[in-house]
């Protein structure tokens, strides 16, 4: 990668994958990938090869999040380098296989872009998830998608937190992007959520085609929400939750939460307030899959990221 005055010249993004079913009960991605595996016309673009792929087929078969362990936490260096022995959890085996097919993670042979399709029970609308604030390519792509989706809002979540960042399925690629659309119950396919996800991908693939054809994208800024903290439910000594997300916070993803605002409501009717010093922007509020991960919601802070102009590097 070379850069002249203000323009970053980046390698073309030729090998692209769309992952559905990383969680086997998040139906939009599963349905889209199955549809495109049967008929790929909609995802074909000049200058790209796009592979639709079901990441966790056994979980999809059972319509469950995972079989042994969460695939979307399984791509750790330890797991990827562990020897292939009997008795490995299914998802660890699967992570190694995916790393072979689409990685190896961190190498020059890895896929250029992986879109990983997810749904959430939280009222997050359409959300794009980034893992790096310095991946110019991803920032420009996200900017393009947001503009194309307007006036429909597309929020951008940045998880670069040293402790809270996790080893995602998509992280084997050079440019990983998470697509998270909600609210949708697990195991349910809602038409509006399905169509939103389909549209996001359409714009994403348009961007890749334009980039690979040599189009230059001018400098831009992207409003993001940067992950700060995980907030758990109040629990008793047995680990059972003793309160629910407060009705005033429920469904208020991306809205400011200030000190003194209601946060939880105990089962016997007592309100617990948010006591943090600064205004935060909660997200993943009341996500079903996070009860077992000790998370009622995540707090974020707003940030504006700047990206250089980019274009494809000449050969």
């Amino acid at each position: 990668m070379s850069s002249r005055i203000g323009i970053s010249c980046l390698q073309e993004a030729k090998r692209v994958a769309i992952f559905g079913g990383t969680h086997g009960n998040e139906m939009s991605g599963i349905t889209l990938v199955n549809m495109w595996t049967q008929n790929s016309a909609e995802i074909e673009r000049n200058g790209l090869v796009v592979k639709p792929f079901i990441s966790n087929p056994r979980a999809v078969e059972k319509c469950t999040r995972y079989i042994d362990t969460d695939l979307n936490r399984a791509f750790t260096p330890e797991n990827l380098s562990t020897p292939e022995v009997e008795g490995l959890p299914y998802e660890v085996q699967r992570a190694k296989e995916i790393n072979r097919m689409f990685g190896p993670k961190g190498s020059s042979n890895a896929y250029d872009v992986i879109f990983d399709l997810h749904n959430t029970t939280s009222n997050m609308g359409s959300t794009l998830i980034l893992e790096s604030s310095t991946d110019l390519f991803n920032l420009q792509m996200v900017h393009y998608i947001k503009k194309a989706m307007a006036p429909h809002t597309c929020s951008v979540l940045l998880n670069e937190h040293p402790q809270l960042k996790y080893s995602t399925t998509r992280s084997v690629a050079k440019h990983p992007i998470g697509l998270e659309v909600g609210p949708q119950p697990q195991g349910v396919l809602r038409s509006n959520v399905f169509e939103s996800m389909r549209t996001i991908l359409k714009h994403a693939l348009d961007f890749l085609e334009l980039f690979n054809s040599g189009v230059e994208f001018p400098p831009c800024t992207v409003d993001v929400f940067r992950v700060q903290e995980r907030m758990d439910y109040p629990r008793d000594t047995n680990g059972n939750i003793t309160a629910m997300v407060h009705p005033h916070l429920q469904d208020c993803d991306w809205e400011p939460l200030n000190r003194g605002d209601p946060m939880f409501l105990t089962f016997d009717g007592r309100t617990i307030l948010y006591e943090g010093a600064n205004t935060v922007y909660p997200t993943f509020i009341n996500e079903a899959a996070y009860y077992e991960k000790q998370q009622a919601f995540m707090t974020t802070c707003r940030e504006i990221l700047a990206a250089n102009a980019i274009r494809k590097a000449f050969k």
Binding site: G187, S191, V245, Y291
Partner: protein, 322 residues
């Protein structure tokens, strides 16, 4: 005049046995969390109810609750037919078949005089159904009066009475074990999630039910009136690929979340993935419910359809002497 009217009502009321023993069951499906937490709270606080009604709280499927799944091997709420309750079981039998017989022994036996007087089974649905009392009878005056009471007292939650016209022998759900029984079904809520507004609504519904029973058992006369009853007519499955059997369309955005809004012939029902609108082809306008319930994909049900009719209910009072 007032006295005459009161005594006229009193003499003409239907007299029914007191509802002395009540069971409140949660976690029949382990991921329908309002009922799970409601039963847990009642068990924690040892709320046995005060005279004149005794209330037992039961966690129906504890193993499924532990794993936060609908069921372990088979749907517990389909294991209460006469045949299932009589089937010989062994250690090798599916967990839920063993459990249904345990619950029948505890709260039944179904059809006998030892059964609890009323069994209220708590459920959630991903469908936008508000609060529904779902039962097998359209002339159980106790259930219908309880429904009327909830409708009167619950300001912000729609309350409806849903009837499945199935004889007791073939009635397959836990609520059929009690002498009177219903599922109290509240949605929309995703499975595996507890939403505080939904929990509060269920808590309120259960409390109002118990209040009514207390008053009834104390000799209060409840005046008759009418209740709209939705009787299930048929289920409609998703359009599916003839070879792979996978679904090829989603519930249409115009139908999604419109439970109990009359569906007319020609109204949109599904939107195929290729963009085609598929319409309701029935001849009769019917009321849809359980629209897009997550657990019903595997049962081949995209939505259920009901006929609505107004049922007249008589005044009732308990056998208790004043």
């Amino acid at each position: 005049m007032q006295m005459d009217r009161q005594s006229h009502l009193w003499r003409n009321a239907v007299v029914l046995p007191a509802v002395s023993r009540v069971a409140v069951c949660g976690g029949t499906h382990g991921n329908e969390l309002s009922g799970v937490y409601l039963v847990r709270e009642r068990l924690k606080r040892r709320e046995d109810g005060t005279e004149p009604v005794s209330v037992v709280a039961v966690m129906s499927n504890p193993r499924a609750v532990q794993l936060c799944v609908r069921y372990i091997e088979t749907d517990l709420n389909r294991c209460f037919t006469r045949a299932a309750l009589r089937a010989p079981i062994s250690e090798a039998s599916p967990y839920e078949m063993i459990r249904s017989q345990e619950l029948n022994a505890l709260l039944g036996p179904k059809g006998s005089t030892q059964a609890v007087d009323l069994l209220c089974d708590l459920h959630n649905t991903t469908a936008n159904m508000g609060l529904c009392l779902i039962t097998y009878s359209d002339r159980d005056w106790i259930c219908l009066h309880i429904c009327k009471h909830l409708q009167r007292e619950m300001a912000s939650t729609p309350v409806r009475y849903v009837h499945f016209d199935i004889p007791l022998n073939e009635a397959y759900s836990l609520d059929s074990v009690g002498k009177h029984g219903f599922a109290m079904e509240i949605g929309p809520q995703p499975h595996g999630v507890v939403r505080s507004a939904i929990f509060s609504a269920m808590q309120e519904g259960v409390q109002l039910m118990l209040d009514w029973i207390c008053q009834f058992n104390s000799g209060t006369l409840f005046e008759g009136g009418s209740v709209d009853v939705y009787t299930m007519v048929k289920n409609i499955d998703y359009p599916r690929d003839p070879e792979t059997h996978t679904i090829t369309a989603a519930v249409h955005p115009d139908l999604q979340d419109r439970d109990f809004c009359l569906l007319h012939p020609g109204d949109p029902m599904f939107l195929s993935f290729s963009g085609e609108t598929l319409r309701y082809k029935g001849k009769e306008a019917l009321y849809p419910f359980f629209i897009n319930e997550g657990a019903y994909y595997e049962k081949g049900v995209a939505l259920s359809l009901a006929r609505k009719r107004r049922v007249e209910i008589p005044s009732v009072r308990s056998e208790t002497l004043r």
